[in-house]
């Protein structure tokens, strides 16, 4: 977008913008990333709908299959991802106050939690596959593997983004606030989608 060139490029301008915040509400990140995030949310809504429709057609099967999941791992993973989001949010905050040290530390912790999520998820898949529960076992597991799989892809993409943000904070003198905000926004969206997936796959009866 052309508009982006006019965006504040460094923390100094961002801070001066800070003063006028009561007058004008600000968009966190840039518009482009919001187009992306909202699009992702709409696309995931389609996966949710497909799941609930299939579930309604065969509720008994879904209830029984659900019992074969490990809700404990699901809860742990939710907490891990929430913690990751908290660190990333704290990092964005630190960026705004030009506290580069805290910003990069929080971002690293957030990334570590994201990686832990991916590891736990991989372990969960492995333990399911080992006992013969595969994508073609039944309709429930088809949705389970597809939804968690597509989400996993987003987590990996998000980790790549967090790495880019980390470089931005570390290797530039004045990290651009909108870059950090945009990346963080995407990461929180991944967290948000997981909250819904967790409720649908593990909890609803």
């Amino acid at each position: 977008m052309n508009a982006r060139e006019a965006r504040p490029g460094d923390l100094g301008i961002s801070a001066s913008r800070h003063a006028g915040r009561e007058a004008k509400r600000e968009l966190p990140g840039d518009v482009d990333v919001w187009v992306f995030v909202i699009g992702e949310m709409v696309v995931f809504a389609a996966y949710f709908a497909a799941y609930v429709v299939d579930r309604g057609r065969n509720q008994e099967l879904f209830l029984q299959s659900q019992q074969l999941l490990s809700p404990g791992l699901g809860v742990v993973n939710t907490l891990v991802l929430l913690t990751s989001s908290l660190f990333v949010a704290l990092s964005v905050r630190a960026t705004r106050t030009a506290d580069a040290r805290t910003a990069s530390q929080c971002l690293a912790l957030g990334g570590a939690c994201g990686a832990a999520f991916a590891l736990i998820k991989s372990f969960e898949w492995y333990s399911k596959l080992r006992v013969g529960l595969t994508i073609s076992t039944n309709a429930f597991f088809m949705h389970y593997y597809m939804m968690t799989g597509v989400h996993f892809f987003h987590v990996v993409l998000g980790l790549v983004l967090l790495t880019i943000l980390w470089r931005e904070i570390h290797h530039t003198d004045a990290p651009r606030a909108w870059v950090i905000e945009s990346g963080a926004c995407y990461w929180h969206a991944i967290d948000l989608l997981w909250i819904v997936i967790f409720a649908l796959l593990y909890l609803m009866r």
């Binding site: 977008m1 052309n2 982006r4 060139e5 840039d30 518009v31 482009d32 990333v33 187009v35 992306f36 699009g39 992702e40 696309v43 389609a46 996966y47 497909a50 429709v53 299939d54 994508i135 073609s136 309709a139 088809m142 597809m146 799989g149 597509v150 892809f153 987003h154 993409l157």
Partner: protein, 249 residues
């Protein structure tokens, strides 16, 4: 030789100055023309979009091919004649991608991967259905094989397009000259994800993730259409905004 005679006869008008973007506009028009033809071929004539179900019985598949034979043939004759237009669309996209500040390697990768994709992702499907329609009296088991080969290559050739979306997204995100809007790059990630969720069409013969399913086909196609429209519009803007001195240099 003849060359000198032709040169002398040629008026020395500078057509480039008069219509400096004509070649790009011709290539640009090839995209809406090609995708309208694509719709005509795959939706109206051959009825391969939306795809018939993977769950059809042998008799139903044979009936689909027999009642549809002439339409399949007309449609794929059209495709055989016009698929080259897809090359023209790569041409202009590469020209615009090369203007980006991001590396040219991505533009060339885009060109190469689409040159590869034409066969597995589109024409191979045409061959399979034409082979079936050409002799609908073949052994029904062979017709079923051709049906599967046709539809699975059409819906399931994912890797080419994953790479297409990936290099396009990376090029736009890295580009500092804002040739294309940044959101188009992000949208290409949606496109990439639609290729991922089409993976199960290699496994399932029913449900939302089958090759005619709500997610694998309908959602994927909807996103593709939105992406393609945005691409055409952004491409128009990119050519329009391209400064003349860049062309005449």
């Amino acid at each position: 030789m003849t060359r000198t005679a032709t040169v002398a006869a040629r008026p020395a008008t500078d057509g480039r100055r008069l219509r400096p973007k004509l070649d790009q506009w011709i290539c640009w028009w090839s995209i809406p023309i090609f995708y309208n033809l694509f719709g005509l071929i795959f939706v109206y004539f051959t009825k391969i979009m939306p795809p018939p179900s993977p769950g059809l019985t042998q008799d139903e598949i044979v009936a689909f091919i027999r009642t549809n034979a002439t339409n399949l043939q007309i449609g794929f004759v059209l495709l055989a004649l016009t698929l080259g237009l897809a090359s023209l669309s790569s041409g202009i996209i590469v020209v615009q991608m090369r203007r980006m500040s991001s590396a040219r390697v991505l533009a060339y990768a885009y060109l190469a991967v689409l040159a590869v994709a034409a066969l597995p992702g589109c024409l191979f499907c045409g061959f399979m259905f034409v082979l079936a329609a050409f002799r609908p009296d073949r052994d029904p088991r062979i017709l079923v094989l051709l049906y599967d080969m046709g539809l699975l290559s059409f819906v399931g050739s994912l890797g080419c397009f994953v790479i297409q979306y990936l290099v396009f997204a990376i090029a736009i995100v890295l580009d500092k000259r804002a040739i294309f809007p940044k959101w188009l790059g992000y949208m290409s990630i949606w496109g990439l994800v639609t290729e991922l969720v089409a993976l199960p069409s290699w496994i399932f013969r029913g449900g939302p993730y089958a090759w005619n399913g709500a997610i694998s086909f309908w959602l994927g196609t909807a996103i593709f259409v939105v992406w393609e429209v945005c691409l055409v519009v952004s491409l128009y803007g990119a050519v329009k905004r391209q400064p003349l001195d860049e062309i005449l240099a």
